[in-house]
Subunit: 462 residues, 2 copies
């Protein structure tokens, strides 16, 4: 090789390759430190255990939710974040009351008990409610039904989640209308109550609760979920005897709104302290189980991500905030209040990330940003390959951080994507307990978020 | 655009692009059918339930292992494979006997119970065995020790698996010598027994058993595993009191070899019936738990893969075999016998795949083949991306199919790679029960293997 061309290659190397190697190696080394901290000295698993076992489920307006607010404030303070504060909000206050009961009877013959749970926000039954059942296998069947089919009956929406859908969140989304709009559609045709097949993929005995809506144009009727096993059972019994009677009693009620809080911790930025990056999940949960995956894992992921960066002595360029949003499940008052509050404060928010898909093995991230941001976002894939993160796709965001988009048109929103296969075994059900979270999977998720937060802060918006 | 160049493009399209699209679309469509069959009408979960609950653990030489052989034969016949047969082998017969007991005492003071399980193949203690303990944090520390440190004592190998290792099988491999060679190394220096920290990543109460070796050059000494929790406890107690006494009793013993079987099912190839592709896992398990992940999931994966292809009416080019190997855990007599038997039968074996890493979400496959095969193997990645399989790496094979490599130098071996994070919570422990396997994760694994088997048969070796 001629000396001249050797020299030219050397110059090219110096100009391009070596700085690039330096850049990439710095990231690689720091990301490895982040994963080591999470896997070897992490706090996420013990913190989640405490949130689940010392407090338990945390429905907005409950005393447990308030206990969780204090717990979170103390926890953030114990990690020495620069600022920790509570942001006041008003939240709905719905209570389940006495446990629900239900059964079916066949004429004078046998009685079978059915496991139900009121959907969140449902009215009670005012004593025992009894009626014949009309079953639909899809909400569109109900919409096409005529009044005489439905009037005075209990509508049973037995629409299953599609098990063939690989992305379980898509299967959930397709089924959501039976829970969200079932009471409205059934009431339009004069039904006296609505019962739905639980939005879950496993066949088990846990009814999955969750939010539902009423419409002022039609009467409110009680709404409840059956476990998938009991939905199958009821469907079978109806084939045998279409005139069977369904009896149910629910004591739930909505009380006046009560004050609550978002919990916020912050590491102050050195270069651009007035520009903010928010990461968070929601502190509230449904009243079933312990809210371990939904969304205990998400808030702990984000808490741990900020703790790790602080513990490793990282000084952020921007101000980094972890927000434990209150009331994602039934009102999103936390997300909405936070977005308008930061706007009123004239803060500039450049990015936000949400973790609200459980504490499973991390698979990647979703990005809702402009083309330049998305391209750079995708360029991070090689840094995460050895950690098993391969998904760098469009999408992202989350219920809590969504309202920020209304305030900042150029904000980039990101969503953490863990493996989704087990999520709907636990979602909004009694099975969503600490024991359903695997230590390593939780720790890997926290590390992935910490590593991505580091890249967002130090590189993505340069 | 000139007509000429348009025509040229059209010719190019016809020659290259359209056949390619056709090829790719055929694969896509059939793979989608495979996943639908597994997720919507799959048998894997119920079959695994039956194997785990109707039979349970299946240690080589046990009556449960023989029951499992009959169960497997019947199951394969019920699926209508062209040929189903049992291949006779001889297997070791080791028994645990009465449950083990162990405790520590501090002089005349307190007693603490310790949970131990004999390692597979260990000799018993012939009544109570008692001694002082010498602890090493790594097997290399033991190798460097001098005789006076060790002689007459119980060696405690407290080497933990490295939690910072993302690939848990690598962490396991690095720790394996304490189990495999601990008794030999300790005996060389005159130890009276060896106890090891369980090869597991979670802190729990389950000792993990597994195979170990003796060397005829040194005396055999009893060998047992402590749960990770009790390993931590013992390490702490030794700091306080290096002279504490450890007492243990184990009733285990090795009996004469007994006859057993590999169970083999076959779909006959149409184009090349004399060329074989084998997929399999091992039917035997340790005697703890139910062998659900190790390797109930693996044999069920492969059974289901063949069932799916048959159910979908697929006619294979090559002869496809599912083999339930016996005795992977403590002798590999099944794998060795199968390899020499097919060679003696003058069968040509072109490929084999093993599933022996549990029933978790599929992440990809490993390939041990020549450059051409590896390149084509990697070209399948886009077909599996929407199913979440992103890993197409070198490596692969497995203990059972490994001996085929000695018989056929140009055979390609493949390994199924599921998510590895939870595997070592269950491996060889009482926690490896049916309930630790998720239905969807199992079904996705079976579908991934069926899809890859289809590609191996129809495309990979063209």
């Amino acid at each position: 090789m001629a000396h001249q061309s050797y020299k030219r290659i050397r110059i090219l190397l110096t100009l391009f390759l070596i700085p690039w190697l330096g850049y990439s190696q710095t990231h690689e080394v720091f990301i490895r430190k982040i994963f080591d901290e999470s896997l070897l000295r992490g706090k996420s698993y013990d913190d989640l255990r405490s949130l689940c076992k010392d407090i338990g489920p945390r429905l907005s307006g409950s005393s447990e939710a308030e206990m969780a607010v204090r717990w979170s404030e103390q926890k953030m303070k114990s990690y020495g974040f620069d600022t920790v504060f509570l942001q006041p909000i008003m939240v709905p206050h719905w209570e389940r009351g006495n446990p629900e009961t239900a059964w079916i009877t066949f004429g004078n013959q046998s009685i079978e008990k059915i496991t139900i749970k009121a959907l969140g926000g449902s009215i009670g039954t005012q004593g025992l409610l009894e009626g014949k059942v009309v079953m639909f296998n899809h909400i569109d069947e109900l919409k096409k039904a005529i009044r005489t089919q439905v009037e005075g009956r209990i509508v049973f929406l037995n629409q299953p989640m599609n098990a063939a859908e690989i992305q379980t969140f898509k299967a959930y989304g397709a089924c959501y209308p039976i829970r969200g709009n079932g009471a409205i559609e059934a009431s339009k045709l004069g039904a006296k109550a609505v019962i739905i097949r639980s939005l879950g993929l496993s066949e088990d005995d846990h009814p999955h609760t969750g939010s539902m809506q009423y419409d002022t144009a039609v009467p409110k009727i009680p709404a409840a979920a059956l476990s998938t096993k009991d939905a199958n059972l009821l469907a079978q019994r109806l084939i045998r005897n279409a005139d069977l009677m369904f009896a149910m009693e629910m004591d739930c009620r909505t009380l006046p709104d009560v004050p609550s809080f978002n919990v916020i911790g912050e590491l102050k930025g050195r270069k651009s302290p007035d520009e903010f990056i928010t990461i968070g999940g929601h502190l509230d949960s449904w009243d079933q189980g312990e809210g371990a995956h939904d969304d205990g894992a998400g808030v702990i992921h984000c808490l741990e991500a900020l703790r790790i960066l602080k513990t490793l002595g990282y000084t952020p360029d921007h101000s980094l905030r972890v927000v434990f949003f209150m009331n994602e499940e039934n009102g999103n008052k936390g997300g909405k209040t936070y977005a308008s509050w930061v706007k009123d404060n004239h803060e500039k928010h450049i990015a936000a990330l949400e973790s609200d898909r459980g504490g499973f093995t991390p698979r990647g991230f979703g990005c809702d940003g402009n083309d330049k941001t998305f391209k750079k976002f995708q360029s991070y894939a090689p840094l995460f390959e050895s950690y098993g993160l391969h998904v760098w796709e469009k999408g992202g965001g989350g219920v809590d951080i969504g309202p920020l988009k209304d305030q900042f048109t150029d904000i980039s929103l990101f969503g953490f994507i863990p493996d989704s296969q087990r999520y709907f075994d636990f979602h909004h059900a009694a099975s969503d307990v600490f024991e359903s979270v695997n230590k390593r999977e939780l720790e890997l998720g926290a590390a992935a978020i910490a590593a991505f937060l580091y890249l967002m802060d130090s590189d993505l918006f340069r």
